[in-house]
Amino acid sequence: MVPITLYLALAAVLFCIGLYGVLTRRHLVIVLVSVELMLNAVNINLVAFSSIGPFANITGQVFSLFVITVAAAEAAVGLAILIALYRNRKSIDVIKQDLMRW
């Protein structure tokens, strides 16, 4: 029987890796991937709580279902924007995306 804290810890780690990815990677696709990672971490939390949490019930898994849906939608939109941007700038280097500043 694995204690819930380990699951949560795993989630936390993944979340932070994702966050770090968002903050530092240059390749936009990877940045989007990192966002997905964060959402996955959230899911782990939800599922863990819903299975072996103090008040275990199914709601958490329903929640995670919605999260997955939204994540997918977000990824789709993100990539669409990515492509539109690529058309305009011929680059998906994050660092180059600073037409607007100050």
């Binding site: 699951y7 696709v29 991937v33 103090p54 990539l79």
Partner: protein, 165 residues
């Protein structure tokens, strides 16, 4: 019981390491691949948690759909960038690292301070239970999600559409 722990540790390590690979690898294809592994591992975690339905959804959506989507996205844009050295200034990377680490520390501290009895009986996340829950209490959200997907669809089409004609 220990077996479960071992499985968990394997999956966890797999997940974390492949997640790290997503960050550190050079070739973009490799990165997306390792991302897929991460998703797999996570799915495994779900099974470990007896959340079969979610696990399956995870595999279908993430491993199936999203990875492909990302690969497409990667192909439609240039992949030369992949060969770049990770170009953020060291200061930036360091700052991010410190920041994220602090955050992680705070989170873990909270997580390990958690003092609730984890319930022994594992509730099994079967499709029917989820379905009932979904259509009884969360029907509103469900409909909302439908619209959301439509909106995302429209948006994605409009944005990704070729400028021609």
């Amino acid at each position: 019981m220990n077996g479960e722990l071992i499985v968990f540790l394997i999956l966890a390590i797999l997940a974390i390491s492949s997640a790290l690979l997503v960050i550190v690898l050079k070739r973009i294809a490799h990165r997306v691949l390792s991302m897929t592994f991460t998703f797999f591992a996570v799915a495994g975690i779900y099974f470990l948690l007896r959340a079969e339905f979610i696990g399956i959804v995870q595999i279908m959506v993430y491993v199936g759909a999203l990875s492909i989507l990302f690969l497409f996205g990667m192909m439609m844009t240039d992949h030369k960038l992949a060969s770049y050295t990770p170009g953020r200034s060291l200061a930036h990377q360091l700052a991010s690292f410190v920041g994220v680490l602090t955050l992680l520390y705070l989170m873990l501290r909270g997580i390990f301070s958690l003092n609730v009895p984890s319930s022994q009986d594992i509730s099994i996340g079967t499709a029917d239970r989820i379905g009932i829950e979904l259509y009884s209490n969360y029907v509103v959200a469900f409909e909302g999600a439908g619209i959301l997907l439509l909106a995302a669809l429209i948006g994605a089409i409009v944005l990704a559409r070729k400028e021609a004609d």
